[in-house]
């Protein structure tokens, strides 16, 4: 789960970079970069959830 979350977080960044080569229209690039940022935030959320399952206050 932690590994998957980290891969998704990094993949969001890659989506943003790919927008530079895949699109030339400014609003398409904008949409892809925002999608990439959102994907990274999803990954961070998953990472938090993964660590939260074993959090010290649950024990």
């Amino acid at each position: 789960m932690i590994l998957v979350a980290l891969v998704i977080t990094l993949f969001g960044f890659i989506v943003s970079v790919l927008s530079l080569g895949m699109a030339s229209a400014i609003f398409v690039r904008l949409a892809m970069v925002i999608a990439g940022i959102a994907l990274s935030f999803v990954g961070i959320g998953m990472l938090t959830a993964a660590y939260g399952k074993n959090a010290v206050w649950r024990k």
Partner: protein
């Protein structure tokens, strides 16, 4: 008696009226300006210098000190020439810029003291020694790693810096080719400040200034992980951040890397523009802190068994607010100093930058204070301090590109944003952040980066171009949507790459030495188990019901 009274009144009005009388506006046609005459070396011979007898009497009013006699001449037999004069002008310009940048760097260095006492004040007394020692040690650890590795990675390919007399020695950038364009990844010159001609006066100035910025980013993490971070793990993590995490992103943004060239290579505005480091310094520190907060987990007693958060108040609000003032003072080095000069290339904008900085800090403090007052009925002191810092963090990137009204808007939004973010991380994400560093530096660092893409007004001009693109940085609201895309690309790099890189190293340190202290040590307080001495040995520390 009455007569003298009226006399006084009449005289008073008369003098007032005289004082208000406008100066004579009668104008005569201006005399024709004399035709310019070229100065020759022989003209310089006739410039009078103070006589030795006059100089021997001292110079109480300063009129005899700093004259033509102080201009260095290359050949004393020929006397002063135009060449000597021009060289002196050039040296004066660079000297002004050196002194400006160095003094700004000294101010930023003093921010370490501000961070130290803000964080210590927001922690419990039983961890005072440990928290102070982390803030003290990060200065040395960060500097060592940056000196050995980080500076070369960040600035080794930056090329010339015109304000500091150019530095042709830092000219080697490792780049890959992507989409038929060069993507600068890291610099390769300047290791140990000796490699490839880096033993250079201008390189030293850049090193000092960039080093204290890097240390600011590192010290942000100590706040989030305070009260439970193993000291050895803290040292390893800080070394890695100073050597790699910070310098890599700083290279992309400031060292000639791919983010800075998004404008020149892909037509996105002026490329990623981060004037003084909302992203490079604060978001890097804040997102690294977020990763550490997730990895290390909350403090014992922070959440009950249902996951509801408990407030764990700090032990000294006096330290907290004093530290905020020290940080606000240091920020005058942070932002105006980032011009790397006061003379030439549009650098007189330092006045605007300084005013933008103080306005945004004020607006952030007010924004947070009013938000807390309206929502909770009291103007919370620590959140007011965090609001001030949030405003300062947010204005750091746009300070060189926006006008005063936009600075206030950016600051107010930052002040409210920091309160919302603290609640979000505390209650929703359940990431324990004793000092609110993730919200202040991470969230508002990202907000600062985005605000450049929105509010940059296109009126700044630092030598006619920025990041190799002619003209001024201009945001969406002033007509350039491409700049916003460049800024968001920087946000994506911060959230997707910087966060992941530092988290993976955090996992490595967890595997090597463990990140968190044993529960017994945490309950006792880290001063004795980790540092061997109490922060306040003569105080009797009482355990609070919640604070454990």
């Amino acid at each position: 008696m009455m007569k003298s009274y009226w006399l006084c009144v009449t005289l008073a009005f008369a003098s007032f009226a005289w004082g208000q009388t406008p100066a004579s506006t009668a104008t005569s046609p201006p005399a024709a300006a004399p035709a310019p005459v070229a100065i020759t070396d022989s003209d310089l011979k006739s410039v009078e210098t103070p006589k030795a007898e006059a100089r021997a009497k001292g110079d109480p009013d300063g009129s005899l000190t700093g004259t033509a006699a102080d201009v260095a001449v290359a050949d004393s037999k020929k006397g002063m020439t135009i060449g000597d004069l021009v060289n002196q002008v050039g040296q004066n310009k660079i000297a002004i810029n050196f002194v400006w940048t160095l003094i700004a760097g000294f101010l930023v260095m003093f921010m370490q003291a501000g961070f130290a006492i803000v964080e210590t004040g927001l922690c419990r007394a039983k961890n005072a020694n440990h928290t102070m020692m982390m803030n003290f040690t990060v200065y040395g650890v960060g500097m060592l790693s940056y000196y050995l590795i980080g500076f070369a990675i960040q600035m080794g390919g930056v090329g010339a810096v015109a304000n500091l007399g150019s530095m042709p020695v830092l000219n080697s950038e490792f780049a890959i080719t992507l989409f038929a364009k060069p993507f600068g990844i890291f610099g390769q010159n300047g290791f140990f400040l000796m490699h490839s001609g880096a033993y250079d006066v201008a390189v030293m100035v850049v090193f000092l200034f960039q080093m204290v910025f890097m240390d600011t980013a590192l010290t942000i993490v100590t706040g989030t992980a305070a009260e439970r971070w193993k000291f050895s793990a803290f040292i390893l993590t800080s070394f890695f951040m100073g050597a790699f995490t910070y310098p890599i992103f700083a290279n992309w943004a400031w060292g000639g890397g791919w983010l800075a060239n998004l404008g020149a290579n892909f037509g996105l505005g002026h490329g990623y523009a981060d004037f003084a480091g909302s992203g490079v310094v604060h978001a890097v520190g804040g997102l690294s802190a977020l990763g550490m907060g997730i990895l290390i987990g909350p403090r014992l007693g922070k959440y009950d068994r249902k996951g509801n958060p408990n407030a764990i108040p700090g032990h000294d609000i006096v330290l907290v607010l004093t530290g905020c003032f020290i940080l606000a003072f240091g920020w005058f080095g942070f932002n105006p100093g980032s011009t790397l000069g006061a003379s030439g290339n549009g650098n007189l904008r330092i006045g605007s930058i300084a005013v933008n900085t103080m306005l945004a800090g004020m607006a952030g403090g007010f924004g947070a204070m009013l938000y807390m007052w309206i929502r909770y009925g009291k103007p919370d002191a620590s959140m007011s301090g965090n609001g001030l810092l949030a405003g300062l963090v947010a204005i750091t990137a746009p300070s060189g590109f926006v006008n005063p009204v936009c600075s206030v808007i950016i600051g107010v939004i930052a002040g409210v944003l920091v309160c919302l973010a603290v609640e979000f991380f505390d209650k929703v994400m359940k990431v324990d952040d004793p000092v609110g560093a993730i919200s202040v530096h991470g969230v508002n660092g990202l907000w600062g980066v985005i605000s450049v893409g929105l509010f940059a007004d296109g009126r700044s001009n630092y030598g006619g171009s920025w990041n190799g693109v002619n003209g001024s940085v201009t945001g969406l609201f002033y007509g350039d949507p491409g700049q916003l895309v460049a800024q968001l690309m920087g946000v994506s790099a911060l959230v997707g790459f910087v966060f992941t890189l530092n988290f993976v190293f955090g996992l490595l340190v967890e595997f090597m030495v463990g990140q968190r202290v044993p529960a017994k040590d945490e309950l006792e307080g880290l001063d004795l188990p980790e540092m061997g001495a109490l922060g306040y040995p003569e105080f009797e520390l009482k355990t609070r019901a919640v604070g454990v």
